[in-house]
């Protein structure tokens, strides 16, 4: 083993809770793993499973979805839609043979900077243990059609 595997993780977060929580982690100068890239959306209700698939297709080893706690959604119930979608989507991933462990779902409020930092660290560790998302990389080799815009 030369270097430890550095996974690439894409996070889809809502602007009102988790994005603000991530900002709070920053203003509190908490340190966490640099593996996660954030995509900001108005609400978790806006997050389409297609975004998650696109992220995996683009070469992400893991995906994180995070929004407001149940009952706290700025848009009253966008996070409930997201949760329902996630329940269905997870079984679809399982059916496809993709470990649902690669896609994480969590609630982080705007006040939980510490929880955000802990979450990023634990998700990074979990995905690191799962290893690179080779299934996709092999698929790319077979078809020789890498994902393009």
């Amino acid at each position: 083993m030369s270097e430890p595997f550095e996974p690439k993780i894409i996070a889809f977060v809502c602007t009102y809770c988790t994005y603000a929580g991530a900002d709070l982690a920053g203003t509190s100068r908490l340190k966490y793993a640099p593996n996660v890239r954030i995509v900001r959306l108005p609400c978790t209700g806006r997050i389409s499973p297609m975004f998650i698939l696109k992220a995996l297709q683009k070469g992400a080893d893991g995906v994180l979805v995070s929004g407001c706690h149940p009952g706290d959604c700025h848009f009253t119930h966008g996070n409930y839609h997201a949760r329902r979608r996630w329940m269905v989507f997870r079984s679809l991933l399982d059916f496809l043979g993709i470990s649902p462990e690669r896609v994480k779902f969590s609630w982080i409020s705007a006040a939980e900077g510490g929880k955000f930092a802990d979450l990023i660290n634990s998700v990074t560790e979990d995905i690191r243990k799962l290893g690179p998302f080779d299934q996709y990389k092999e698929l790319i080799k077979e078809t020789e059609t890498p994902a393009t815009l």
Binding site: A20, I38, V39, R46, H81
Partner: protein
């Protein structure tokens, strides 16, 4: 062809110490479509902003990315700079490389790499940004206040005193609500009528307030600033403009034994009546269900007794259509029906009464003129037992929540009783004493220490009658012993519940409610007086159990929100709203179900000869709040959210 400008901020050392900005600027300069890639110490400073503006003008940039702090910090600053340089402000995006990169990472190479990814992702997004214009909505400067209790009156007066028009709608024949029924109010023991009736009169006489009593809101359409409301004026059978309120009709009416709702059934009224003596307006109504004329076509005694011919039996319900810009819902509460508590004997024993009935007994204007008397034999009770939480905090038979006011009003009742009946004894069964509020704990202490109320911590299991006494069996958990008290009167501190039609009414207005039927605020902590529907505000106990000070405070808060709304001629809103593609929409109405704001309507499309071609979904930009839940729901990709379009987000992901 995209010409993107990227401006990388050092933020002093905040970013530059962990991100190699020079390397970042060089790498980003190579990215397709990037025309300018520069770094600077502080782009948010005046010279920094000037340099951004100059770069936009000199290079004819089609979009910019500011790689700096969080968009929550300076997005508005840079959007404004864009607008000043002639670039649409929505063609500016912020790459957050401070809060979410330099401040949280220690390894400079890793942080630089992450900053590159973040910046590239925003470049790909901004390439696909569209020029957006803020949405302008006109505002009708007239408010509708629904409910004429203390909350509604307060809100109406606050708005009217600020010079704006108000329409105040009350479904009962008089203003007043529950507060008019109360005897004295905690924690000061001032007479409720004495502080309430001047407010009622002020509201009725205010030149800016149009008072509609005995009226109900039938229909609400439209959106913030532009509601269309239909109000049903129920027929009073008394001409409100002619009647002087002399009361001759009421004294002559032969039907005299109708249970009086205002006195909670303890008093009697006639078929033509005003709810109480100080009613505002002081104009009677005819109760159609009890009136002899409406039953068998004969009588009209009241009509004959009226010297100015104000009574008209042919009156019909009328409708009034109004345009209003904002709505305040102040529909109040009801007292829970205690039918489920057979063990307390309410309804079986006439001397087991509710707290609200006790208020009427203690009230100087009540059926006993303020004397505490038993309904059964008219005698003064010597021992009174109060049972708190008779419905509240009881998930099995009552409601799970605390009704908030009962601890206080029970202490008040015990005090009023001991002031009126010297030597009388009070026992109060309680679970906990919740007396949080200004002067509240002192008040309950006063009931115990000065007025000798005996508090027993425990529940009551049964109330029964024996030798003309009400036997109350309970437990004193502090002594660990069962107790039986011989009482002459039992008062139940019943729970506050939403109005029985609260849920149906919420659907008429288009606001959300909780499992009980209390109306939901937009945010429990930060937007407690706004409903989830823009332009609709909440006041008083329709939102949750509240006492008078809380209701008044919330009413004034709602009024100030309405006045802020009315302070502009036009509302300007962020153009982050959804829009449908009417060509591809299949009309499955999934988006209609998904929308938390009822912002999506069904729209008919006709051909030139007026034949219906199809029905499609159509977003009302005045109502849409821009969450995007509908976009994800849409099965045919026929709806998209400006500012966060599918194309933009996919591009963002691909840029990472």
């Amino acid at each position: 062809m995209a010409k993107i400008g990227v401006f990388i901020c050092h933020c002093g050392e905040n970013i530059a110490s962990k991100v190699d900005c020079t390397k970042l600027a060089a790498a980003i300069g190579e990215h397709p479509g990037v025309e300018v890639s520069v770094e600077y110490k502080y782009f948010c400073s005046d010279p920094g902003q000037e340099s951004v503006k100059k770069a936009i003008r000199d290079n004819n940039l089609t979009g910019i990315v500011i790689a700096a702090c969080s968009p929550r910090m300076h997005e508005a600053t840079f959007r404004k700079a864009c607008a000043e340089a002639g670039l649409n402000p929505y063609l500016c995006e912020i790459a957050n490389i401070r809060e979410q990169c330099s401040w949280v990472h220690t390894d400079k190479d890793m942080a630089t790499e992450k900053a590159m990814d973040i910046t590239r992702s925003m470049i790909e997004k901004v390439k696909r940004n569209n020029k957006l214009q803020p949405i302008e909505v006109p505002v009708t400067r007239r408010a509708l206040v629904i409910g004429g209790g203390i909350a509604g009156i307060q809100a109406a007066l606050d708005i009217a005193n600020a010079g704006q028009e108000v329409v105040l709608v009350e479904r009962e024949p008089s203003l007043g609500g529950h507060m008019a029924q109360l005897s004295e109010t905690f924690p000061t023991l001032d007479c409720s009528q004495c502080i309430m009736t001047p407010r009622m009169v002020e509201a009725a006489q205010h030149p800016k307030i149009r008072l509609l009593t005995y009226a109900e809101v039938e229909h609400v359409d439209g959106y913030i600033g532009n509601f269309k409301v239909r109000i049903r004026m129920k027929s009073r059978y008394v001409d409100i403009d002619t009647c002087t309120g002399c009361g001759d009709c009421m004294t002559k009416c032969p039907v005299k034994k109708i249970s009086n709702e205002f006195d909670c059934g303890l008093g009697k009224r006639t078929a033509i009546y005003t709810p109480f003596a100080q009613s505002v307006p002081n104009i009677p109504v005819i109760d159609k269900t009890s009136c002899i004329y409406f039953k068998n076509g004969k009588c009209k005694t009241c009509m004959k007794s009226c010297q100015i011919n104000a009574i008209n039996f042919d009156m019909k319900d009328e409708f009034i259509d109004l345009d209003v810009g904002a709505i305040i819902v102040a529909t109040g509460f009801q007292v829970q029906n205690t039918a489920g508590y057979g063990e307390y004997g309410y309804g079986k024993y006439p001397d087991v009464i509710t707290g609200l009935q006790f208020e009427r007994l203690a009230s100087a204007s009540g059926p006993t003129a303020g004397k505490i008397l038993r309904s059964s034999d008219g005698k003064v009770p010597e021992t009174v037992v109060f049972i708190q939480c008779a419905g509240s905090r009881d998930p099995s038979k009552g409601v799970r929540y605390c009704s908030k006011i009962c601890c206080m009003y029970t202490a008040k009742h015990a005090m009023l009783y001991s002031h009126k009946v010297h030597g009388g004894k009070t026992h109060i069964f309680y679970m906990d004493i919740r007396a949080a509020g200004k002067g509240y704990d002192e008040f309950t202490r006063r009931a115990i220490e000065e007025d000798d109320a005996s508090y027993l911590r425990g529940r009551v299991s049964k109330v029964w009658e024996e030798n003309g006494k009400l036997m109350v069996r309970g437990v004193d958990t502090l002594l660990g012993k069962p107790v039986v008290i011989e009482a002459d009167m039992v008062v139940l501190a019943t729970a506050m519940v939403p109005q029985p039609n609260a849920k149906e009414f919420a659907k008429i207005i288009g606001i959300a409610y909780d499992e009980y039927g209390y109306y939901n605020e937009a945010h429990l902590k930060l937007r407690p007086v706004e409903s989830s529907t823009a332009g609709v505000f909440l006041a008083g106990a329709c939102q949750s159990p509240k006492d008078i000070p809380d209701s008044v405070a919330q009413a004034s808060a709602s009024a100030s929100k309405v006045l802020a709304l009315f302070s502009k001629e036009k509302l300007e809103r962020e153009p982050v709203v959804a829009a449908t593609n009417e060509i591809t929409c299949a009309g499955c109405w999934g988006c209609v179900l998904a929308c938390p704001y009822n912002a999506i309507e069904k729209k008919d499309i006709f051909d030139r000869s007026g034949r219906l071609v199809k029905r499609v979904a159509s977003v009302n930009p005045g109502l849409c709040q821009g969450c995007g839940t509908c976009v994800t729901f849409c099965r045919s990709n026929s709806i998209d959210l400006a500012g966060f379009t599918e194309k933009q987000i996919f591009a963002e992901v691909m840029g990472l």
